[in-house]
Amino acid sequence: MSKSITAKNLNVYYGDFLAVEGVNIEIAAKSVTAFIGPSGCGKTTFLRTLNRMHEVLPGARVEGELLLDDDNIYGPGVDPVTVRTMVGMVFQRPNPFPTMSIRENVLAGYKLNGARMSTSKADEIVETALRGANLWNEVKDRLDKPGSGLSGGQQQRLCIARTVAVKPDVILMDEPCSALDPISTLAIEDLISELKKEYTIVIVTHNMQQAARVSEKTAFFNIAGTGKPGKMIEYADTTTIFNNPSNEQTERYVSGKFG
């Protein structure tokens, strides 16, 4: 229930615009990896290529190889929908389905795919997922209320529960806390430490402290200027990146000289 990720010479384009260039990275299973870097350097773009979510955007395409364990998800005959059932994603702004109750939101991955299951089975999935997202105690009495009635932090955890419920191998998170208050942020960070026992986690954050707190490895992305492609500058253990980076750009960034 957890896979490694390997990118080989990955380029990402929006139409003709090369947004991210030549990424080579190996992400171990059951680890937390953080992507950091200034705005516009392509963190989100690269993250979305890990489950082919970029294909939803018009004109976005990829060159290179991306292996999930040993399978190239860009290989011929691969169905992006299948990839996404294996690689889940949590977005920057919490986005529970506004028309569904909390319970339905958690079951969305099943229900939307038309799966039928017994109530007891469903109850079990809901409870497991919500417990996994540290949300069970807060919402167990109002599972039939709309998910959008929760606070931002709770909504984000609901989105995580929804992702966890379908038991993916990898969970991608794009700045999951940037719209949340500090208490909620703390709750999510705690949750990430829990989740890594079972899942491979990749998290984008603009908050270096957060990266330092939650991740084992960190990748630093940078961009030379508007219109230039983003690049992965350095990828190493988090402690190395923050205390002893080998690249000068990384050093300037983590020390707050820019960004």
Binding site: L68, I73, G77, V78, D79, P80, V81, T82, V83, M86
Partner: protein, 313 residues
């Protein structure tokens, strides 16, 4: 392992195909309508001499002399309707989007939408029994003081059943259409730009002039075009309100002007299918169809011309 399930992907394609087919279906329906019109219009310009068989020849001039006063009349009525309705509609839309208290604006929008729901027969009846007589003194006044302008010349109508009254009735009918389109667009003006203007110290009107109106220009035009479409095609209200007749300069005389739809409605019941007259009626229907086509093309062209400086990005 990651290769997908064929059935699911097939369903996906099937649904996409269905949606696409619906779109094409609309084009087909429209093609049928166009074909129906063109096919049946042919008899209007190519037909036998009166009563004599086997003498078929072209009668284009005849048809045109029949059609052009109706085209002019239709245009006059629609232009009057738009000249009155468009400014008021924009004003009302601005009132709802930027002036009314936020709580009240929904209700007000609902009330204005109600105007759109009143059937045209009712407008016609209202225009004929109430509005036309009410406007008679006003036409007298126009004629007395502005009679030197040809459009207010001639003997003013004693009944008020003039092309301008028809225009006023149509303006009431198209007002809610233009209002609701404009309102939607005005509301969507990026807050970012509105706030930028306000932060520069703009008054409310200056903010509107600077951000809302330029942003909404395309929407305003398409709203007006939607209203124009309704005005061009309106039948019963004009039939009931207008005392029709030949084309003239004056718009305050009755027994002048007629519109295409009203002419079709007035003549269709007595025309025998397949007769030249019947073909002529279908052909002027086709003319109206072409006019709306042109109007839409022009509107799109106007909207597209301002693309570079539009708020679209």
């Amino acid at each position: 392992m990651v290769s997908g399930d064929k059935a699911g992907a097939g369903l996906d394609r099937g649904f996409a195909g269905l949606a696409r087919f619906a779109g094409i279906g609309i084009l087909i329906i429209l093609a049928f309508v166009a074909f129906f019109l063109v096919y049946n219009s042919w008899g209007a310009i190519y037909h036998d001499q009166d009563g004599q068989a086997d003498t078929a020849s072209f009668h284009i001039g005849e048809f045109l002399s029949h059609a052009w006063p109706l085209v002019i009349g239709t245009v006059i009525v629609s232009v009057i309707a738009l000249l009155i309705a468009a400014p008021i509609a924009i004003g009302v839309a601005l009132y709802i989007s930027h002036y009314a208290p936020p709580r009240a604006s929904r209700t007000i929008g609902y009330i204005i939408d109600l105007l759109a729901a009143i059937p045209s027969v009712v407008y016609g009846a209202w225009g004929m029994t109430f509005l036309a007589p009410t406007l008679v003194p006003f036409y007298g006044w126009l004629n007395e003081y502005l009679g030197f302008i040809p459009i207010f010349g001639g003997a003013p109508s004693p009944t008020g059943r003039t092309v301008i009254t028809a225009g006023v009735v149509l303006s009431v009918m198209v007002l809610p259409i233009i209002t609701s389109v404009c309102r939607e667009i005005f509301i969507q003006t990026p807050k970012l730009h509105e706030e930028a203007a306000l932060a520069l110290g703009a008054t409310r009107w200056e903010m509107i002039k600077m951000t809302v109106l330029p942003f909404a220009r395309g929407g305003i035009i398409s709203g007006i075009m939607l209203g124009l479409g309704r005005a061009l095609g309106e039948t019963m209200a004009v039939v009931l309100v207008l005392s029709s007749g030949p084309i003239a300069w004056s718009i305050i005389q009755s027994g002048r002007h007629d519109t295409i739809p009203s002419n079709i409605a007035s003549n269709f019941p007595e025309s025998r299918q397949g007769s030249v007259h019947w073909h002529e009626l279908i052909a002027i229907g086709l003319v109206l169809f072409i006019i709306t086509l042109l109007v839409n093309m022009i509107a799109r062209w106007i909207v597209a011309r301002h693309k570079e400086f539009s708020g679209a990005n």
